[in-house]
Symmetry: C5
Subunit: 359 residues, 5 copies
């Protein structure tokens, strides 16, 4: 969960558009992968060094716009030089470039003169801990640029579809690729939600069977994760909704139908999150009520035992006194009489408890 | 409740429009039933095998649009072949077909070039457990296609009305049939709500009479079901509202009046759900307060008994000590004096408790 | 409160527009009362049997529209025949007629070709129990039709104003009559709200003086009634607001000013309800806190007494042991020394409690 | 607080526009004060009896509209005759006149053909109790009419500004006077809010130092007052907002800038109220938690003492039994051995409590 | 936190536009600093006395509008004379000038004929206490006026950027300067939020490890600060949003892109605040549950010990009675038999507790 509330700004008041690498370097080496494809073409290159990108950029500038799409995927954000070169080559806005590096960015979409910029958040779970990375995406005519913080597998299924040529992706344009990547990020939520759903069910059983401080911690932890996921999912809903309705030549009408589908998915994610949140809230109430009820049971046992035996012990104490002149002590039937009186007191108290509904 | 949070996606990132059967096969055999009717005509056929649908499709393609309506009702979703054939025959959009199989779909309506697609959720209670199925519906000119997950009786009353020719249904078009089916699904909520209302009343009595951990579990269970029903009812409200107001040639103006009526019903369902939710929330508060109050009563009894007898027992303990030089022990009226002192202490404490309002 | 959540539908899936009498017959005989009035005319007739209505209907059909207004008021809903005849005579929409009988209807207004239909809910309190009835109203040119479930006095003041000719009602048209009736129904809320306000004040005193399970039940009961009233008042606000702004020839501009006044009343009802709801919510919190605080007081007394005397009793117990070799027992000042030690222990504990702020 | 939920209607169903004096007469005598002013003119007259108003009305009717403004301020509402005369003289709408007397009116603004009507609520604190009065205002060309329930000082600063000629008021028109009066009413909230803020701070200290049932009552009382103030402030926000934006010739554009300023003040009042409400809600939570924590402390002391001494007392009890054959009693070192065993048990229990973190 | 709820008005009803110095003088001397810059020019002057401003104003009036921008920054608000002179020199609206001095102002933006006025709130933490000051800003063609309550460092980074000529600021106009200042104020939130985030994490650990009254106080304090920050951040969001979209010649289109960026920052601030608020709310619930659970543990230990030993002590008490005729006392195996019975009772009770799950 550490990464849900990331440090966002170095110092307040710095000039907007200043590029500064994120404080934490999450991959060793910046990796660049170029995928150039069209209906009958699929050329995938992993560049040895970021410097190898130069010839690609030249080729792209020389090429005339056609059916083919170029997807440049960069993993790792600490090579400011590469970013500056890409910014210059594609004419990217300096504020958008700054946002690529601001890894605590709120998901958003922004339209600039000739390109669209999207910032999204992608979650994954490593060893129980929920982590996240910021993924940013530029959509230009015929070109998609993506920036990831760490190596992950969110984009692998899309890459696979392009390689195999399944679905529409090879025949469609760069906007469809952007849609497919955003949809892949949104889809990452579903396995997480399933995992959370299972944890909720486990917690529900724990609540009934043996609630304890661990249950409490688990409920709080769950709520915290739901808060974090929700904080990312709400603006992603806006992102997809804006993309679908925005008047921009970069997104074609055929792609909008698919974006509507992606929108349905985000809304579904949000509804499940809200449902989980409500259940988590109920669980805390139930926990508290359950603890109170248990305490009540404990108290009743204590009260019954103590209330019966404390007066009896007092009676025994009286006849344990050492006064010389205690006539009862000499009576023949004193002992049985006292035992009888004690039994009577005990039974009367039991009858009283039963009448109050404690037994 | 298992089916409220269904697994939705096989793997994140698969191509949109890919058909994949739901993981759980909820009926043994896919059943297809065709109902062809008009003002003076009602022809109902249960097809032996899905393959028998072919001649019907040919006949439909050949027929010229007239007054008659064809309703093809399919129960069971695992025959992908049938679905593909239907999709091709009626020109259904691939995203809509995919949604037919995504049984955890959020209720929605989507308009495509020449057909409308609705996904709805239908609830039923089997042996105490609340279950649900997804029902999808395509509205085309003169044709309605419906897909159900399991055999149920939601559509039976409509079928009966068509058979008997009661109401407007035989004289109206396919849009009225679609309305009647949606209305039948919405109406399924009412008996469920009545059942929940009765459970709420039972719980209210339990709360007053003898609240216990079972009451708590029942309240939580109730809330969980309300959350699930509400999650389905809200988007169904949107579905009916969209259908009523959407500018589409597929829905005639006369039918819109009826959709307004169906809309009133969904809104009523939602309001009852909200009311129940608020009551369920209050009940948890009352439960907690009631437990606390009972604990208070228990504590008061314990405190009164213990506070009276503990000091008295101490006094008895003093005179039970075996010191050789305890002059009181030899006094003639020592014993009665101690008994009197004890009575006085007891009465003083009782008076104190009465003044504090504990008796 | 039984009538707040009424059974609404006979069976899901029945054809819309089917007339079916409500399950419960709340008056013995259906009563019809016709009031025909104009600026200089007031003719009131209670019909012996519903069949006597026929000549009235004929006369109405023959009359030419003028200044006079006819108000037909029907109490009791189980005469389907009468309803059908009225529907035919005035051309009422079948969905509206069905809603007259659906007594669990949500308050609403619907405009049809040449008439307006309103459903409203009217509350009254009989012997402590909050009851309600549905009142439906048709507004046609020169005619107002009202249907009530039970004999009540909501409309009596309006009838009285017509008889006496006070206010504008005799000079105004049917729309003003409809307004006056709706306003009378809305005004029924005010005495109820006053009663609730008084109960809130009583509860506030109980909370401070002697909160108990009865207080808790009363708070829950209060909340339940507020939920029920609110569920009716929100849609009635919509009804009046729609009537005021709707573009319909049936409502004249002069009447709209009065509807704005009625609208203010409904909004006021809603605000008072919200205020009461918030206070009721606070009261539950205060109840819980108050119980907790009292328990704390009880515990403190128990703890002080027990903590002082339990160790002292232990000391007495030691010297009550019967060992042969207990040198202290033979000491001359053993007994006074032990008594002194006990006093010292007791005082030390008292000092400790005072330091902790428990005394 | 008695006046927050005032009785509003005499009887449901009375004709709208009927004048009826409020049930409670809050001043002895109706006082009328006329202030006639212009840039170079300020004429203030307190009328001996309401009947003296007649010549003023005649003069006003005769005067031609110019720069001068007449403000008629009436304190006390039980002179229906005066009200009727004013209504006739200025052509006031009967519904507005009725609202002048309905002292439980929701704050609102209404535009009639040639005059504006505002109802506002003004709070003041007398001897700890929060009271309120309704202030109504009519704005006509060149004339402002105000009605107050009781003598108060809300308008005095405005009157003073007119007398002294400070600010714009003498040079501006009747609309500016109306603004100044409304602004004066809104400003009345600020000292109240300051007082509430101070009470919140006192309560915060009490919560930490010595929370008790008085704190609880004070928090509830605070919430109740916040609810009442908020119920008045929300519609006053609407009033000012409507006045500022409404298309009416009665309010000039220069005055709208000032109304925008008044609007900012109301919004600020509302935000402070919301903030206070949230703090009050938190305080109740903190109170409950604090009580629970204190009870926990009390319980721990009781448990430690009881758990240590109850077993020891039992041991002492064993050797206090009077069996003839108890060999330990005759042992030489029996007594010291038992004392040692008791010390060991006590130390073991102390060690256990320390390990659990109770000491 | 003292400064979150500042006294706002001297006396209700004073004339709008009256200048009155704030009640608290937060700096000793009013400091004026003038910064005149353009693409190739940067002239910074700290004026010795406010009177030295006069020549600057003359020069400004004489200069013809060009590329250069003049920023006059005033720290300290008690020099009413200076304010009046500035107001006259730049034609500032009297209501805006009054708002400069109303230091409890709600953040807002107002457009006047030829200048824009913004009020903002800037937070800083001194020695653990959260303080705030109001910063107001006038934007005129080529001129920016800012008023601060205290010396702070919010604007220092912007001043530094102007001096060094980094970023766009020297080449852009007065509107960009205004943007840069507002952005600097918004950015002040981020270090505060980080600090709060760290406190939340510390509290989360405390909750698990050793919750106590200090934790409770810290949570309440946190909530209070969140409430205060949120109350300022919401209207600041509106301010930036209005500036970005308002149709005014004072803000150029290039600057709007940057304002959109600032808007994103404010929204992010708000979302983090909401997230923190939700976590703080959860923490209180967890605290209460945790306390309850601990009390339950304490009670269980007490109950187990007391329930086992109280009956045993009673048995010992019986045989400590001094009756002459107690046959058991004379039996040879009486003592061992009683010891055996006691052990049996103890074991039975232990078995019972284990069955109830208390051990």
């Amino acid at each position: 969960m550490r990464h849900l509330f990331e440090k966002r700004h170095a110092t307040p008041g710095t000039a907007p558009g200043t590029l500064r690498a994120p404080s934490e370097r999450r991959v060793e080496e910046v990796a660049v992968r170029v995928l150039h494809y069209g209906p009958d073409l699929c050329d995938e290159t992993g560049l040895a060094t970021p410097a190898d990108l130069e010839p690609w950029l030249d080729r792209l500038a020389a090429a005339e716009p056609g059916d083919s799409v170029t997807w440049i995927d960069i993993v790792g954000l600490h090579d400011l030089d590469l970013l500056t070169r890409l910014g210059r080559a594609f004419g990217l806005h300096s504020l958008a470039l700054e946002d690529v590096l601001n890894v605590g960015q709120r998901p958003k979409v922004e339209e600039f003169a000739d390109h669209l910029f999207c910032a999204l958040r992608c979650f994954h779970r490593h060893g129980g801990e929920l982590g996240s990375e910021q993924i940013t995406l530029f959509l230009l005519p015929g070109v998609v640029l993506t920036f990831q913080e760490i190596h992950g597998d969110a984009f692998e299924p899309v890459r696979e579809r392009i390689r195999r040529g399944t679905g529409r992706v090879r025949r469609a344009g760069a906007d469809y690729l952007a849609y497919a990547l955003i949809d892949a990020i949104v889809d990452q939520f579903f396995p997480l939600l399933e995992g959370l759903g299972e944890r909720i069910e486990v917690l529900e059983h724990e609540l009934v069977d043996e609630p304890g401080p661990k249950t409490l911690e688990a409920i709080y932890h769950l709520r915290r994760e739901l808060v974090g996921l929700r904080r990312a999912a709400w603006p992603e809903r806006e992102v997809v909704s804006t993309l679908q309705r925005q008047e921009t030549a970069l997104v074609q009408d055929e792609t909008r139908v698919f974006l509507r589908d992606a929108y349905d998915h985000v809304v579904q994610v949000l509804e499940i999150l809200e449902t989980y949140r409500e259940l988590a809230g109920s669980m805390l109430d139930v926990y508290l009520s359950s603890i109170s009820h248990r305490m009540n049971e404990v108290m009743k046992v204590l009260t019954i035992i103590a209330t019966i035996f404390i007066p009896l012990t007092f009676v025994a104490g009286i006849y344990g006194m050492n006064f010389e002149h205690m006539p009862e002590l000499g009576w023949r039937w004193g002992y049985p009489a006292v035992l009888g009186a004690m039994t009577a007191i005990g039974l009367a108290l039991l009858w009283y408890f039963r009448r109050r509904g404690w037994l």
